[in-house]
Symmetry: C2
């Protein structure tokens, strides 16, 4: 078989230039979340197929990269349907729940987890949407109080401010408000999940569009209208008011936190508060999360309150790239270009000099001088080299 | 299906304590390799099945985690054998070669690549060997001179010294010496690959053991004996002598660099110098590499000289853990424990105080106070918290 030099469809190679920006953002994330006392964990990229298809992932379960069994177990498989025993994780929340159920005895409580890692979804590739992409989540497990929401929102807002973002809005709602509104409007309980998914499209398809969808789902026109009206008039419950107060008390400035009764968040596992961060200027969501008090219990048998917030790492990278954001320089960079006819003792001296310069914090690249040294210097200048020394 | 709380067989969950050590080592790697002018790249975890099974991976090709096709393409597959279009990468060298072939036009040359990332091998799980593990490679592409070997060895040695390792030995050999010795000893060319694999076991099975294996492969007893004798008397070629001189000239102290004619390195793709770093005290190899001038050409059609050095990240972590290495403290850590009856204005004040302390570089965890606050404080002390403030 011939070799293919492009990456697998929908996945990316990252060049040194890409990595400088990605590392800059990663370091900021580690710095800010670390200061808030979130502690990093890591789980394998590969998860049991039973967990991945356990109804926690909603639409994502249709997008799993499934991995074949190996050896004897593969031979025993009758057909393709039974030939997989694991797959690539589609998010970081499911693995975190498994991790916590497996390790809770050795973790402090409430546990404040921070994760940064790749996830995989066999989505239709399109601009800005990849099949391997980085997610960055913080979660608080074992705290049923609104302190969890407060810390998650404050930390995420602090991170975005640290990355230079301003004028963003944290929108917050509670699934309980949505449910109550639906019940009051006469929407049958078995149709509420679908009704929420339609409501979520309000800013895209408008009131008439949502109403049409609700009716198509079997909801009466009257109930649909009432639902839209009641939703518009919904008032924040006390926990939302308290979270807003708390977040403001933490004193970060440069963003708003607003109650938004139309906020739904797609994932079925949310059980209480839900929140999202929108960038005004872009009309884009850059972070989303909420409370999911039932998921860990499905692994451990013991219910554990849980609340999380996930930032869209790739989206943040895209915005910074679009803004032509420049990562601050990392100190002096010097290149020693060694001519192919250089004498041995000159090379030895150069190597020794390079070691000394590195020991005082400078970056020194010792490399072969190309025939076209001018072009070589231009390329090295582009990645931050300001000083060149040719060795003959 | 029921949910499984343990990780997939042979793969690991990393706790916050694990991650502190892993991040410490990762940061040292980035720091040292960065100072040598290596520039980081990243490739997807998933590679084309054609590349993974293209005869670059030796035994590793038997250990691939293969990924099922999706959607219509899966339905078109006749059987399991044709049902996969990609798989998880088993090393970082093959993806680097693909990356370089794909991106060379936009990269400086010689290109000094640095990679740190997970690889997957469906190996039999055993102590210290995992099915997902981290590799860390540096490679120089486009330099056919011994400057490449010199910089790779100097940088890797500098990293190990920075991590506190001492008294290690860089062993170096050249595939050309092995080939010449085999030819001089009368070993038929088609049996040399197998002969090298047996020679590689010299320190484990001794001369008699190697001889037996050589004979079993169809080599005459006389040729086998001559091969062992000639190998023992082999002399370093000029490039090895020059690399040794260069590495010493760079002035790093605390390790040896020695010619070792019995060094083989398993991978079939090596074309010239090969090298390995052994820890005297442990009798373990912690890094290995060599020159592979033919691999990139198999992707791009244009031959490109290439040389790389890979450190065993997981092995280094294991050694540091065994030595009970303590990561230096990362600054002051304070925990605010909020009583569930705390008044709102007290909470607001605590959140405000926390923000101020963070702004001067301190880590502040604001968290719910547990019923057993003594146990909670003990657990937080274990992860570095030295100051506690209870908020009522």
């Amino acid at each position: 078989m011939s070799q293919i030099k492009t990456p697998v469809k929908g996945m990316c190679d990252f060049t040194p230039e890409d990595m400088v920006l990605r590392n800059y953002v990663t370091d900021k994330i580690k710095g800010v979340y670390g200061k808030f006392g979130f502690t990093q964990i890591e789980t394998p990229a590969v998860e049991h197929i039973e967990n991945l298809t356990g109804n926690h992932g909603g639409e994502n379960e249709k997008l799993i990269f499934k991995i074949l069994k190996r050896g004897e177990k593969l031979k025993e498989s009758q057909d393709i349907a039974t030939a997989c025993d694991c797959g690539l994780r589609y998010d970081l929340t499911l693995p975190l729940s498994r991790f916590y159920a497996n390790n809770a005895d050795n973790l402090y409580s409430p546990f404040k987890a921070f994760q940064i890692g790749n996830v995989w979804r066999a989505d239709r590739p399109q601009k800005g949407r990849f099949r391997q992409f980085c997610q960055c989540d913080i979660d608080i497990l074992g705290d049923d109080s609104i302190l969890a929401e407060t810390e998650l929102i404050t930390a995420t807002a602090a991170l975005l401010l640290e990355l230079g973002f301003k004028n963003f809005t944290v929108r917050i709602n509670d699934r309980a408000i949505l449910k109550e509104t639906a019940a009051q409007s006469g929407i049958p309980e078995d149709l509420t999940a679908g009704a929420f998914i339609s409501l979520d499209k309000l800013d895209k398809i408008g009131e008439e569009g949502v109403k049409e969808e609700l009716i198509a789902q079997g909801i009466s026109g009257q109930a649909a209208e009432r639902f839209l009206q009641n939703n518009k008039n919904a008032q924040p419950c006390q926990n939302i008011i308290d979270i807003q107060k708390n977040v403001k008390a933490a004193g970060c400035e440069g963003f708003k936190i607003e109650f938004d009764p139309t906020l739904v968040r797609g994932m079925g596992y949310y059980t209480g508060t839900i929140f999202e961060i929108t960038m005004e200027e872009l009309g884009l969501s850059v972070a989303g999360g909420g409370r999911y008090d039932k998921m860990i219990g499905s692994f451990s048998g013991a219910n554990t309150p849980a609340c999380g917030f996930s930032i869209g790492f790739e989206r943040i990278i895209t915005i910074l790239k679009d803004r032509r954001f420049k990562v601050p320089s990392q100190g002096e960079k010097i290149a020693f270009l060694i001519d192919k006819k250089a004498e041995n003792d000159k090379i030895a001296q150069a190597l020794c000099d390079a070691a000394k310069l590195r020991s005082v914090g400078k970056t020194v690249m010792v490399t072969k001088k190309n025939k076209n040294a001018k072009f070589q210097k231009e390329n090295l200048s582009a990645i931050g080299y300001t000083e060149f020394k040719e060795i003959y």
